[in-house]
C-alpha cells in the first residue's frame, strides 16, 4: 500500500512537466509489468504445455494441447453436454456444505463457550477427525446406499471438521480482556456473546469456511468416482476410460474453476464482513 502510494505521488509530480503521453505509456508499461510478474509463471507453464504437446515432445494423446482442451470445454459447456454434470455436482457439494455450516457453526459456538461441552465432545471429535472420510465412505455406502445420500453425507462429514474446529478456536481466542471490558459496562452473557464473542470469531470462522469449501470439492470428486453416473468427478473418470483425454482435462478445468470461484466468493464476503481487519480498508 505504501509503495503504491509513493508511486502515485511521484506520477503526479511528473505530470506538471508536460509529459502526458510519456506518462500514460509508462503507466501502461507498469500495468503490464504487474500482470507479468503476477501471472508470468502461469502463462509460461501454459505456453510450454501447448508447445510440448503440439510439437510432439510429449505424447499428445495423453497430454493434449491446450487448444484441444479449450475446444472440448467449449463443446461441453456451450453445447450443454457437461451442464447436467456441473448441476448435479454443485447440488451435492452445495447441499453438503450448507448442512455442514448449519451444524458446525452453532455447535462450534457452543463448544467454544461451554468448557464442559467441549471437554465431553473433544475425544470423539478427535477420533472422527483423524479417521479419513474416504476410509469411511464404504461404511456410509453400506448405511445409506450407493445413491445421493451417501455422497452428500461423506462430503458433509469431511467438511464438518475444519468448520467446527475453526469456529471453536475462533470463540476461544477472543481476547478475555475484551470480555472483561464488556462485563465492566454491565453487558449480560447474551450481549457479550452477540457483541464481542461472535464478531471476534468471524475471521476464524471464515478460515473454516474456505478450508471447508476446498474439502467439499475434494470429497465431491472422490465420491463421484465411485458408483456415480453423473457429475464432474464421474466425467473425469469416464472420459479417461473412454480415452476422451481432452474431455477429461476439460472436466478437470471445470473443477479447478469451481474451486477458484468458491474461494473468491468467500474472500469477497469476508472483506465485506470484516472490513475492520482488512489492511487495504
Amino acid at each position: 500500500m505504501t509503495l503504491q502510494h509513493i508511486e502515485r505521488t511521484v506520477g503526479v509530480g511528473r505530470r506538471e512537466g508536460n509529459a502526458l503521453p510519456m506518462d500514460s505509456l509508462r503507466l501502461a508499461g507498469r500495468a503490464s509489468g504487474r500482470i507479468l510478474s503476477r501471472y508470468g509463471v502461469l502463462l509460461g507453464f501454459l505456453a510450454l504445455w501447448q508447445v510440448a504437446a503440439s510439437r510432439g515432445w510429449v505424447n499428445a494423446a495423453v497430454l493434449p494441447p491446450i487448444d484441444a482442451i479449450i475446444v472440448a470445454l467449449w463443446k461441453g459447456v456451450a453445447g450443454g453436454s457437461l451442464l447436467g454434470d456441473i448441476a448435479i455436482s454443485l447440488q451435492r457439494a452445495g447441499l453438503a456444505f450448507v448442512a455442514a455450516v448449519v451444524v458446525a457453526i452453532p455447535l462450534g459456538l457452543v463448544m467454544g463457550q461451554a468448557r464442559a461441552v467441549e471437554m465431553a465432545l473433544d475425544p470423539i471429535l478427535q477420533l472422527f477427525r483423524q479417521t479419513s472420510a474416504l476410509a469411511l465412505y464404504p461404511v456410509f455406502i453400506l448405511l445409506l446406499g450407493l445413491g445421493e445420500a451417501s455422497k452428500v453425507f461423506v462430503i458433509f462429514w469431511a467438511t464438518l471438521f475444519p468448520l467446527l474446529l475453526n469456529t471453536i478456536s475462533g470463540v476461544k481466542e477472543v481476547d478475555p480482556k475484551l470480555l472483561e471490558m464488556a462485563r465492566v459496562y454491565g453487558a449480560r452473557q447474551l450481549t457479550i456473546f452477540r457483541r464481542v464473542v461472535l464478531p471476534g470469531a468471524v475471521p476464524s470462522i471464515f478460515v473454516g469456511l474456505r478450508l471447508g469449501a476446498t474439502t467439499a470439492l475434494l470429497l465431491l470428486i472422490a465420491s463421484e468416482m465411485i458408483g456415480a453416473n453423473k457429475g464432474i468427478g464421474f466425467q473425469v473418470m469416464n472420459a479417461q476410460y473412454n480415452f476422451q483425454i481432452p474431455l477429461m482435462f476439460a472436466a478437470i478445468v471445470i473443477l479447478a474453476a469451481l474451486g477458484l470461484i468458491a474461494n473468491q466468493a468467500l474472500v469477497i464476503l469476508q472483506r465485506r464482513l470484516c472490513r475492520w481487519s482488512n489492511p487495504a480498508g
Binding site: D175, K177, L178, E180, M181, A182, R183, V184, Y185, G186, A187, T191, R195, V196, P199, G200, V202, C274, R275, W276, S277, P279
Partner: protein
C-alpha cells in the same frame, strides 16, 4: 454535561489474599479508607502491594475475602452503573469504529443507538478525536486509542472513574500530554477519580491525595495530601518536594 454529585467510597477492613503455589499471599490487609466525592485519589505502591487488586475490587471485578466497599452508603456487589473503568490497554473492539466503541458502553446498558452515538460524539470531541469518529482502532496510535477508551468510560457518565495505570504503556511525551488531558477532564466532569499508577510524578500532578500501599507485612497504608494549586507546574519547588517525599516513602531518596 456534569454528572450528579455522589461517588463517595467507603472501604472498611478490606482484606484480600491469593494462593500462590499452595502458599497464601496477603495483598490487602484490613484496609480502611474514605474516598471523598469528586476527589482525585491516586494509589501508588511497589509491585505486589495490591494496588491493582484494590482497584479491581472497587470495580467489582474481584471479591474481597473480608470487609467491604460501599458507594454513597450502599454496599457494592459486582460491577455497577455508577462506575466505569479505564484499563492499561485501550481494550477497543477492533470491528467497531471509534464512534461505535465509545457508544458501546451506553448501548449495552440499553440506550438506543441514536442517543448513544449522540452522547458518544460529545465525548469523542472532548478527548480531541472528532475527526477520527469513523476510524477503526487499528488506524489509531497508542495515545489515540487510549483516548477512545477514556471517552468510552466518560460517555456512561459514571460517578466514579477507576483508572488502572491508564498511561503506563504510552511513551513519555504522549504520557505528559495525556496527564494534562486527564487533569482537565477531571476538573470539567465532576467525577470521583481513583487511579493506580507507578509513576510518582504522575501521582503528584493529578492527585488530591496519594494513597501509598505498604509492601511488607504489618506496614500501614499512608495518605499524603497534595496541597498544590491547579493547573500544576512540574518544575515548581513544592511540586518537586512532594515528589521527593513520595520517593522517600519507597526508600529511593
Amino acid at each position: 454535561m456534569a454528572t450528579p454529585s455522589g461517588g463517595a467510597v467507603t472501604i472498611r477492613d478490606l482484606s484480600k489474599s491469593f494462593s500462590l503455589g499452595g502458599r497464601k499471599l496477603a495483598v490487602l490487609r484490613s484496609l480502611n479508607l474514605d474516598i471523598r466525592s469528586g476527589e482525585c485519589l491516586v494509589i501508588v505502591g511497589a509491585s505486589g502491594s495490591g494496588k491493582t487488586t484494590l482497584l479491581r475490587i472497587l470495580a467489582g471485578l474481584e471479591r474481597a475475602d473480608d470487609g467491604g466497599v460501599a458507594i454513597d452508603g450502599r454496599e457494592i456487589e459486582g460491577v455497577g452503573e455508577e462506575r466505569a473503568v479505564i484499563f492499561q490497554e485501550p481494550r477497543l473492539l477492533p470491528w467497531l469504529t471509534v464512534l461505535g466503541n465509545v457508544a458501546f458502553g451506553l448501548e449495552v446498558r440499553g440506550i438506543a443507538k441514536a442517543e448513544a452515538e449522540k452522547r458518544a460524539r460529545f465525548y469523542i470531541a472532548l478527548v480531541g478525536l472528532a475527526e477520527f469518529a469513523d476510524a477503526y482502532p487499528r488506524q489509531l496510535s497508542g495515545g489515540m486509542a487510549q483516548r477512545v477508551g477514556i471517552a468510552r468510560a466518560l460517555t456512561v457518565q459514571p460517578e466514579i472513574l477507576l483508572l488502572d495505570e491508564p498511561l503506563g504503556a504510552l511513551d513519555a511525551m504522549t504520557k505528559i500530554s495525556m496527564q494534562e488531558e486527564l487533569a482537565r477532564i477531571w476538573s470539567e466532569e465532576n467525577v470521583t477519580m481513583v487511579m493506580v499508577t507507578h509513576d510518582l510524578e504522575e501521582a503528584v500532578y493529578l492527585a488530591d491525595r496519594v494513597l501509598i500501599l505498604p509492601k511488607e507485612k504489618g506496614g500501614a497504608a499512608r495518605l499524603i495530601d497534595v496541597d498544590l494549586p491547579r493547573p500544576r507546574d512540574r518544575s515548581e519547588s513544592r511540586f518537586v518536594r512532594y515528589r521527593e517525599e513520595l520517593l522517600r516513602e519507597f526508600g529511593l531518596h
